[in-house]
Symmetry: C2
Subunit: 188 residues, 2 copies
């Protein structure tokens, strides 16, 4: 049985993001961000999972990781991992991911920003769940390091509220946050 491919796409942005001091930086790609989020994305029927970085050496790292599990020893050793990493797409910038998805759907997907802090243009999880159920194409965008930089937040059509906004502690990993958001939007 194959999960129905839905209208939901993810992007994990490595530039422009914030560092601990709130400065705009580019972050390094990490192996487990690719694996964990691809596995969760595949479980919930995500269409494409974009990993965006402008740095050539980091792009090469993404190609090597995905290649190992798509064509290398990993593909025969672990077919389930091959299937998960099969939805990963590399892009030099978020704008390129948006262009590619616009070509696929014939319209620009809804751009949904995520953050551990409240942002402008908030849409509730239930509202976005309804849009996903109505098969509205969307791209949910996650920042690495200390989150998406303000200059990229301004292009979002809407933003999701922080997970567990009322908790006194909100320092989830991006891997946990992406998993929980997928479950809230697409879970049984």
């Amino acid at each position: 049985m194959k999960t129905d491919i839905g209208p939901v796409n993810l992007a994990l942005v490595h530039h422009p993001v914030l560092n601990k001091k709130g400065e705009t930086i580019g972050s390094a790609v990490t192996n487990l961000d690719l694996h964990d989020i691809a596995r969760a994305a595949r479980t919930y029927g995500v269409h494409r999972y974009y990993v965006t970085t402008p740095f050539e050496d980091q792009q090469q790292l993404v190609r090597e990781i995905v290649g190992h599990w798509q064509e290398g020893h990993g593909a025969t050793y672990n077919p389930a991992r091959k299937e998960a990493l099969g939805i990963v797409r590399l892009a030099a910038a978020l704008e390129i991911a948006i262009e590619e998805l616009t070509a696929v759907y014939g319209r620009r997907p809804l751009l949904i920003g995520t953050s551990a802090q409240p942002q402008a243009k908030t849409l509730s999880f239930n509202e976005l769940r309804s849009k996903a159920a109505a098969r509205e194409p969307m791209l949910i965008i996650f920042g690495t390091a200390h989150g998406l930089a303000p200059e990229i937040m301004t292009i979002m059509d809407a933003t999701l509220p922080p997970i567990q906004e009322k908790a006194g502690y909100n320092h989830l990993s991006v891997r946990s946050a992406a998993s929980i958001i997928l479950d809230r939007l697409l879970g049984d």
Copy 2:
């Protein structure tokens, strides 16, 4: 603001678990299992997060990781991480974690097994959410590698159904699974 400490505890078991072939093994502790699950656990007000391994070298690794962020350079560099890792407890076996929690609560916590495959004694997420809301002490138990071995599954009082049971693909990382289960049981 400090999240209210609830009656929910987690355990991440490194022995006895299954390997790819279904044989009982002991797995290696990984840094990110400690960090990601501790951060999610702290966000959702989990009381204690037990990491269980019978291997002395692996126990030492847990002590070093937690120590770095509790007392080392990490504690001043990242106080939020210190707070998350402050709920981690090391135990040589799951039975010891159960004994310690029984002493804390004055009664044995409900033992809840998790698995990517359906198991006996299933309790729905909603039923367990009600028990958590009624502040019934519980220990939710996760297996590393290919999951908890059958000999440990038999001691569970109940088990949770697989996440996204109807999806054709169910290969979440234990980090994603723990995050999603916490959100389903304790989320806003």
